[in-house]
């Protein structure tokens, strides 16, 4: 469902134009869990940003579900993102003055759902990530792993088709990282979300179904990773709904 055709991107760094992606083409099928790996400066984050619609390529096309998002203007992109993309960042990027509930509810402000419907969705999402008992905690009152889980709930709240995660476990300890990755796999398998994850950690990449390597702005071979056992999915007591 995601197709990049001959995409190039250059950045201005210190007055000079540095090429980051060069004539890159890539296909991602619906429901894939893709890990983007590569050394620092290889352009993996840039590639993610382009697919997520928070950056524009200098040339090429980015077709997502048939729409070329590279042709959209700012406000069209914003609307598109609100509907189609869920974000998970390395440093969670939660709004510090809002509670977990409010952070998750934030993207719903861009929809026309009723207050009751919004509330129901938020509760569902937080329950799904196991934080129903921490609704009114602010980020400062949550651990790193818990904050990332709130972020995941926020990423899911508008039921987007794509979830992008930029180093989602970069700031977490081993156990929390594992839990997050398991959760992501679960979302991919059981809810059919297309997930694109940037990571530099090979262990994290193992949770994905396909790994692509980027080197100096160009793709290298894509390797299919061995899927993990189903036992490592979300806690068995919780039901997962396919959709909201």
């Amino acid at each position: 469902m995601i197709e990049l055709r001959h995409v190039s991107k250059r950045y201005k760094r210190g007055g000079q134009l540095v090429p980051v992606l060069h004539d890159l083409s890539l296909c991602v099928a619906r429901g894939e869990f893709l890990a983007l790996m590569g050394p620092s400066g290889s352009g993996k984050s840039t590639l993610l940003n382009l697919i997520a619609g928070i950056d524009r390529p200098d040339s090429g096309e980015i077709l997502i579900d048939g729409q070329d998002i590279a042709r959209m203007n700012e406000s069209e992109l914003a609307r598109w993102r609100a509907q189609h993309v869920g974000f998970i960042f390395q440093f969670y990027n939660l709004i510090p003055v809002l509670t977990a509930f409010e952070n998750v509810a934030l993207p719903l402000q861009l929809t026309s759902l009723s207050e009751a419907a919004k509330k129901a969705r938020v509760l569902k999402a937080l329950t799904m990530v196991g934080l129903a008992d921490r609704l009114d905690h602010t980020p400062s009152e949550l651990s790193g792993g818990q904050q990332q889980r709130v972020a995941i709930a926020r990423a899911l709240i508008t039921d987007p088709s794509i979830i992008v995660a930029d180093e989602p476990t970069g700031d977490l300890d081993r156990q929390s990282a594992h839990d997050i990755l398991v959760m992501l796999s679960g979302l991919n398998r059981e809810m059919g979300k297309t997930i694109l994850m940037v990571t530099h950690d090979p262990k994290a990449a193992e949770h994905a179904l396909r790994i692509v390597h980027l080197e100096k702005g160009q793709l290298e071979a894509g390797i299919a990773a061995v899927p993990l056992t189903p036992a490592a999915s979300v806690a068995p007591t919780q039901k997962t709904d396919a959709h909201f």
Partner: protein, 385 residues
């Protein structure tokens, strides 16, 4: 609702900073309010003027007297309903800094011409009866602790020597905007004493005539008529409405009034700089958050609006507090100034200006930060975290 919570909590995120900015707005609004009130006080005489009263003075300048004989001829002019007169005495009460106007008046006609000065029947009778009696306004009585029956001495400057009086009455003002910092005594007494003390220039003369007219619409016409009576005589007159007469005084010290008005806007500029700084710093610190919001799909206008709303909240709260506190502070200030500013009242126009300016400060302070925030490139903004 959620957005409102976001705004409110963002305002309070840095409690110290919010409190200081709020305080700054309060002080600036208060300062502006006080200065505007000082300017209003300057115009108080003109505000309290009646359009049914004309003032006739010597055309050369107020410093030159008019002969009392002019009275008869002025009375004959068509449209004049009654006539009174007054001399500026300009004496010193105890010390030069205890300044208040003192007038030698034609008692009965003057009190009739100024119905806004309220005396009890007893006080009025006592005053009219005793040549050495004096009537003082409530503001003077309060400032110097004077009561009916007290003795009062004025040191003359224009009319040299010591002048002894007794307080027969204390007049109240009909409105809060009425000047109650004046002293009145008998013109006849002044005239007699001028003769007795051998002050030739002061005999049978007056400073101004107060002409009451039945039809205010005819003021200009009647003024010209009165002046034409005395043209080419030794004592030419200039007649104008009381309001024009009072505004003449304001015009004399116009430079000071203008300077005060300019300075009152300087304080607004100062606080604008402070607020702009606060908003600029705040916006910069939250670059990552705004980038996140944009990533989530909120429009640039929305995030710009967040900054603007936050700035407005701070400014308006501070402005309202400042406007409210202006009233008690003005009252204290007015009392402290005593008889120098007989009327020191906060005009409703001043309060409206204060609120409008607070709004403007809030808007202007947020313009550049809001614009910058709306233009944040998401990728760079996220990198800033």
């Amino acid at each position: 609702m959620l957005i409102f919570n976001l705004l409110l909590r963002n305002v309070w995120r840095h409690k110290g900073r919010a409190a200081l900015t709020f305080l700054g707005l309060l002080v600036a609004t208060l300062a502006f309010g006080l200065l505007s009130t000082v300017v209003s006080a300057w115009y108080a005489g003109a505000e309290g003027a009646s359009n049914a009263r004309l003032i006739t003075r010597n055309s050369i300048s107020l410093v030159f007297p008019l002969p009392i004989s002019h009275a008869e001829r002025i009375r004959q002019v068509d449209g004049v309903s009654s006539l009174s007169w007054a001399n500026w005495f300009g004496g010193i009460y105890k010390e030069p800094k205890n300044f208040f106007p003192q007038f030698a008046i034609q008692p009965e006609s003057y009190l009739n011409a100024y119905p806004e000065y309220l005396l009890t029947e007893a006080e009025r009778t006592d005053f009219l009866r005793d040549r050495r009696a004096v009537v003082i306004g409530r503001k003077i009585a309060n400032s110097y602790g004077l009561k009916v029956g007290d003795n009062l001495t004025l040191k003359g400057t224009i009319y040299p020597g010591d002048w002894e009086f007794q307080v027969a009455g204390i007049y109240e003002g009909r409105q809060t905007s009425t000047d109650t910092a004046q002293l009145f005594f008998h013109w006849d007494y002044l005239n007699e004493e001028a003769k007795r003390r051998n002050l030739p220039r002061a005999q049978n003369t007056t400073g101004v005539f107060i002409v009451q007219i039945a039809e205010p619409a005819r003021a200009a016409e009647i003024s010209l008529q009165i002046d034409s009576l005395f043209r080419n005589s030794a004592y030419e007159t200039l007649t104008e409405t009381e309001k024009a007469f009072q505004l003449g005084f304001v015009a004399m010290t116009e430079a000071i009034v203008v300077a005060i008005q300019i300075v009152s806007y300087v304080v607004i500029l100062i606080i604008m700089a402070v607020m702009a700084n606060t908003m600029a710093m705040t916006a910069r610190e939250r670059t990552g958050e705004y980038a996140t919001l944009k990533a989530l799909g909120f429009s640039p206008q929305f995030v710009a609006g967040l900054i603007t709303a936050e700035s407005l909240m701070l400014a308006v709260f501070g402005g309202i507090a400042g406007a409210v506190i202006t009233f008690p502070v003005a009252r204290t200030f007015g009392d402290a100034m005593g008889t120098i500013f007989p009327v020191f009242e906060v005009a409703s126009q001043t309060t409206v200006m204060q609120l409008i300016l607070a709004l403007i400060v809030g808007l202007v302070a947020s313009v550049i930060p809001a614009w910058r925030v709306s233009r944040i490139r998401i990728v760079e903004g996220l990198r800033a975290i």
